[in-house]
Symmetry: C2
Subunit: 358 residues, 2 copies
DNA sequence: TTGTACGCGTTATCAA
DNA sequence: TTGATAACGCGTACAA
């Protein structure tokens, strides 16, 4: 950590008596301005009983005038409560996590808590993600909501042991931490059922390993499993083998086309499906005319009728709401112990997957 | 804020001697475990000189064993530094803000700061947004980054007066607060130039008022202005008149079609453009065959070659980076006073706007 | 090399 | 109805 140097607090040319920039009025300043003690200020501002109405008015006026905002850090130290939830998301730039974030914020506010968010920074290293979690813990949040398809549960447990924690958006079974997620196995199977129903008998599935994404590996595994059970000829393609990045899609698409006879391609998410469709477009191919394509997640803007993705909708609002409820209930002692809640998703028929023309 | 009740701190059935849940080990616990004083722990953990190597090892082991994470609140109080930047975004669910968030996080980390994010909660009331800003201030962040197309600068100034602040992603000229943004006037004009260049002579522009979005009003106003200057027949349609929500697009599209002879439609953002294209699709119309359509923002996933949006790219990574640099420079005294930096965007030719076939 | 003591801004307890 | 005072967890002079 950087050392504090005298220069930090001494900008040039400040008028005498003026507060140094960066320093904010304290309860003491308000007390002085209002001509009372800081205890009275504290009570007046928090609406505690036992303060003369006239005094309350006077104090509030003084506070308002100098733009006093109580220091939440100090308040937290003395009150042993911060009323703050810590949210960790892997990558705020993707609509999936963005929607979750919004849902968290909304429900946290409804429950009387604030939510602060920390994310990894660009490079998605496990180490970075753990550091982000520590940041949240160091802020003494009262609850933790973790959204990452990659961070191993072992890295989360130590925190969950001390702070009410919920893992949101991914299946988890560890008994020491709660989770709220959309049923990945059911979703993968539902998506596969649809493909089978449409008459496809030779299907490519882009798969993931658990290491790169627990959700995407679970759902694609379920897809493969169900297709096999239905007697379909399945061609799994591990995304990791073609460069993990979504940009490697082109090689996968090429390989799938080279395989010959594939009439449907199942992608692990809408983002990947979009990349697939782009690759196909480069080759003058479209879905579902040349090959059927399915996505997964079903979140705006991918659900646009313009794109017409055949996909699986995860009810992110509900997941976000239940996640917050779970941690808050734990914090307030309304519930004890971890709970795992699986939410059902929903098929989006779309147009990118169609019946196989015999 | 909710009052603290006794129940909050008294969970049922806890084993005697055990730490209450939610309470985390303190420096004092580590000191006891390592058999030294807390000062030594502080110095050992912060790598300060003057601690015996053997003691450092001992302390670190004890801290590690009990999962000690220093309380950033307490640290901030005594050190007068929190090394934390506060980020406010209007709506984390949209890709535009999501990408900005990522850029902030990355650069903050690079500069040795953590970033905590607060957002409004669903309903985008100004009051809510101001409350979110107060949350950040109460956390005693050292710098403030504000991203909202709606929050009036008057509501930001009071904070900017005390904390280094930058308004990111929207043009601002007030001398008491910095800003980093993509040149909206240049962008609106650039987009309009393109439309003129393609030969369109009767063009509909979906406009916004400054009240609903400062950025979108600025760029659409520039579009209208440039089209008029070029002698084009301009038909402005105020989005607010048709229900501010993006869902009202359908009525606007209908009105534009009813107007007759319009060959190009300029939308205020890619999101709106997507809604427009959906409406057209419902009527069996496509762009650019039946009408040319332009968007704005140029951020993934709207930039997909599958959609082929004709749009204007805002360099969000650069905006994010420069915003963080600006606040951090202010915090560290490397720069003084507000600076307004306009960044140039870039045309994305796309396919949704085409030359008018004579 | 280590420990003691104080202050940071706030809330809560208790006395006035 | 108000004011003094003790925590809270940490960093850091200063003393040992």
């Amino acid at each position: 950590m950087r050392e504090l140097t005298p220069e930090d607090n001494e900008p040039v040319g400040r008028a005498p008596g003026e507060r140094p920039p960066g320093s904010v009025p304290t309860i003491h300043d308000v007390a002085a301005a209002a001509g009372v003690s800081k205890s009275v200020v504290s009570r007046a501002l928090s609406g505690a009983p036992g303060v003369a109405a006239r005094t309350v008015t006077k104090v509030k006026a003084a506070a308002e005038a100098m733009g006093y905002v109580a220091n939440a850090n100090a308040r937290g130290m003395s009150a042993h409560r911060t009323h703050t939830l810590g949210v960790f998301v892997r990558d705020a730039a993707t609509p999936f996590y963005g929607h979750l974030l919004t849902a968290f914020q909304e429900q946290a506010s409804a429950r009387g808590y604030r939510a602060v968010t920390a994310t990894g920074s660009g490079s998605f290293s496990i180490e970075e993600e753990r550091r982000a979690l520590e940041t949240l813990v160091s802020l003494r949040v009262e609850g933790l909501i973790v959204c990452s398809g990659a961070l191993p549960v072992e890295d989360i447990i130590p925190f969950a042991h001390r702070i009410p924690t919920v893992i949101a958006g991914r299946p988890e079974t560890d008994p020491s931490v709660s989770s709220v997620y959309c049923d990945e196995v059911g979703g993968g199977r539902g998506m596969a059922e649809r493909v089978v129903q449409l008459g496809h008998r030779r299907v490519a599935v882009m798969t993931h390993t658990a290491a790169s994404s627990l959700t995407q590996s679970a759902r694609t595994e379920a897809m493969v499993q169900h297709l096999r059970d239905a007697g379909v000829d399945v061609l799994p393609f591990r995304c990791e083998d073609y460069g993990l990045e979504i940009e490697g899609t082109d090689s996968i698409v090429q390989a799938i086309l080279d395989a010959g006879g594939v009439t449907a391609l199942m992608a692990p998410s809408d983002s990947w499906a979009l990349a697939v469709l782009e690759s196909l477009q480069l080759r003058g191919l479209t879905a579902p005319n040349d090959i059927s394509v399915t996505g997964y997640d079903g979140v705006k803007p991918f659900t646009s009728s313009l794109l017409g993705f055949t996909s699986w909708r995860q009810p992110l609002n509900l997941i976000g709401r239940l996640s917050v409820d779970d941690v808050v209930d734990q914090i307030e002692g309304l519930s004890q112990g971890a709970r795992h809640r699986s939410i059902d998703g929903e098929l989006i028929p779309g147009r990118t997957a169609a019946a196989l023309s015999a």
